[in-house]
């Protein structure tokens, strides 16, 4: 695995995520959120899971990011996040980060290099989806249908009342 690529992608992703968390203007935060997800998809490519990387770009950048910018447009009264930042939130986040870092660096069994694997083809993912994971697949289908119908009902205007 290429270490130069890892460093570049890590810096890009973390910078974009930090920008998404701290920029005052909402549209800029949403766009750097999209860049952060492209960075994460690049990580997936680096780890050999190309299909997941492509699905990530497709779903997150192509759909969720567009959804977020549409919602920003439709709720446009306060597009800036005014007010002082929440100190308590920052302290909790740093504490959680510290705890996770201590746990990771303490476990010596995790400092291993990548073993050789055979490439994970789309055919194999499809085969596994239809044999071992067919019930989760049906459940996810039902879940997505329910989410679609639920979202439609939530935003439908009440024409009959009033």
């Amino acid at each position: 695995m290429n270490s130069a690529a890892f460093v570049v992608i890590a810096i890009l992703t973390l910078a974009a995520a930090l920008a998404a968390a701290s920029l005052p203007k909402l549209i800029h935060a949403a766009l750097s959120f999209a860049v952060a997800f492209i960075g994460i998809a690049a990580f997936f490519f680096l780890l050999g899971a190309e299909f997941v990387g492509l699905v990530q770009v497709f779903v997150y950048v192509g759909a969720v990011a567009v959804l977020i910018v549409f919602t920003i447009l439709l709720t446009r009264r306060d597009v800036q996040d005014t007010g002082k930042p929440n100190r308590g939130g920052a302290i909790i986040a740093i504490a959680v980060f510290g705890g996770l870092l201590w746990a990771i660096l303490k476990t010596s069994a995790l400092s291993i290099a990548a073993p050789q694997i055979e490439a994970l083809t789309v055919k194999r993912i499809g085969g596994v989806l239809m044999t071992d994971y067919v019930w989760p697949l049906q459940c996810v289908g039902l879940l997505l249908t329910a989410a679609l119908i639920g979202a439609l009902i939530l935003v439908m205007e009440d024409r009959n009342e009033g």
């Binding site: 800029h28 950048v61 192509g62 789309v122």
Partner: protein, 395 residues
């Protein structure tokens, strides 16, 4: 003889790679990728320039006039004049526009369009980047275009731009579904997402004459028509160019862009057209395969570009012939007609496969498609039913 002419570009590339033959692996990969990228950019930017003038000439001929014919022989150097004009124009950015977003929008839209060109097989062994999930890569990159269109509309700080961007995104999202679902029958029948595998599955001929292209099957023909129409919409071409309707909202999301940035938008639209046509050729028209066994001596890339040119001519033809449709007509058409027909194509492809892939399969899948089409036509009957005419006379 035909084999060496066919692979001539592969040999040229190997000649170019010879000086770095002893270098480490990553350097070889980067050099090889760079050669692919430069070749791709060179060919498609030239094609873009050529098509921009050919479109104007063909539209002119359809409207009973000459197109541009002053600059160069038959006006073919017009893109040079256009390019110089675009480059020397003043770059105006609105004072209250969001500078970063306004600047990045044309770059992003051009980048995603060019990225999509990288996975299409242009000839035997001539796919620039052969990814296992190539079709998914194409659509993932294509769906990023919507974000770029939104950035263009938002960054201009202009109500017309915002309105144009919202219309464009609504149209593109609605037609992304039929676009992607019509590729499912092909992927299902071939069993792979890689464009190379899809092209390889379309070789061979029936009785030595009719090629095994997917467009010769009923579900393939229906899926090709649906894919092509969705491609027309995705590239915002007439009759679906509501986002850039010149008589309505100036230039939609491209209103506040001048000079080179507008040229970038223009180029991105055309390269998007090339990418979708290239994918249509790969999925349905047999990629770089010849139509008859006797003509196989012609190199594979020539066949690809011939088919691509035919599809581009149909794009230009549609632009010269059809009037613009209304936005609600466009959305109704997508959700009420194209989506059910796209799902029917999947079922028809499955019927074709399981009835044996021969004549019986042909008739059964045609029956499935015909039944659903007739049912949809009856259900969606939008002809106005006029009441009896009454007259009012002055008293």
């Amino acid at each position: 003889m035909s084999g060496s002419l066919d692979q001539i570009f592969i040999r040229i590339k190997q000649l170019l790679l010879a000086p770095v033959a002893g270098a480490p692996d990553w350097l070889m990969q980067i050099t090889s990728a760079l050669i692919n990228i430069f070749a791709l950019l060179g060919i498609f930017l030239t094609l873009f320039a050529l098509i921009s003038v050919l479109e104007r000439k063909i539209l002119g001929r359809m409207q009973n006039r000459y197109g541009p014919n002053r600059v160069g022989p038959f006006g073919l150097f017009q893109p040079v004049a256009d390019g110089i004009k675009m480059l020397i124009k003043e770059d105006i950015v609105p004072a209250r526009a969001d500078k970063v977003v306004h600047f990045l929008a044309p770059i992003l839209i051009a980048a995603t369009a060019i990225l999509a060109l990288g996975v299409i097989p242009y000839g035997r062994n001539m796919t620039p980047f052969s990814i296992d999930g190539g079709i998914l890569f194409f659509f993932a990159v294509g769906s990023t275009t919507e974000l770029a269109v939104f950035m263009a509309g938002w960054g201009s700080n202009n109500k017309f731009s915002m309105l144009g961007a919202m219309r464009a995104i609504a149209q593109m999202i609605s037609y992304e579904l039929p676009l992607i679902i019509t590729t499912f029958p092909v992927v299902m029948v071939v069993g792979a997402l890689s464009p190379d595998a899809i092209v390889a599955a379309q070789n061979g001929y029936w009785f030595g004459v009719v090629p095994h292209w997917f467009v010769t099957t009923p579900w393939g023909a229906a899926a090709f028509i649906l894919f092509f129409v969705s491609g027309l919409v995705e590239s915002n071409r007439t009759p679906f160019d509501v986002p850039e309707g010149e008589s309505e909202i100036v230039a939609g999301h491209m209103t506040e862009y001048s000079g080179f940035k507008y040229a970038t938008f223009f180029m991105a639209e055309y390269i998007g057209m090339f990418a979708i046509s290239g994918l249509a050729v790969t999925l349905f028209l047999g990629g770089w395969h010849a139509p008859i066994r006797g003509l196989e001596f012609i190199p594979s890339y020539v066949w690809f570009f011939v088919k691509l040119s035919i599809l581009l001519f149909i794009y230009i033809w549609a632009r010269g012939t059809l009037p613009r449709t209304r936005i609600d007509q466009i959305m109704n058409f997508a959700w009420k007609f194209m989506l059910p027909m796209a799902f029917t194509c999947i079922i028809a492809a499955a019927v074709w496969h399981y009835a044996g892939r021969g004549v019986a399969g042909w008739f059964w899948s045609l029956a499935v498609l015909g039944v659903v089409y007739i049912a949809l036509s009856i259900l969606l009957d939008t002809r106005k039913k006029f009441a009896t005419r009454t007259y009012r006379f002055a008293e």
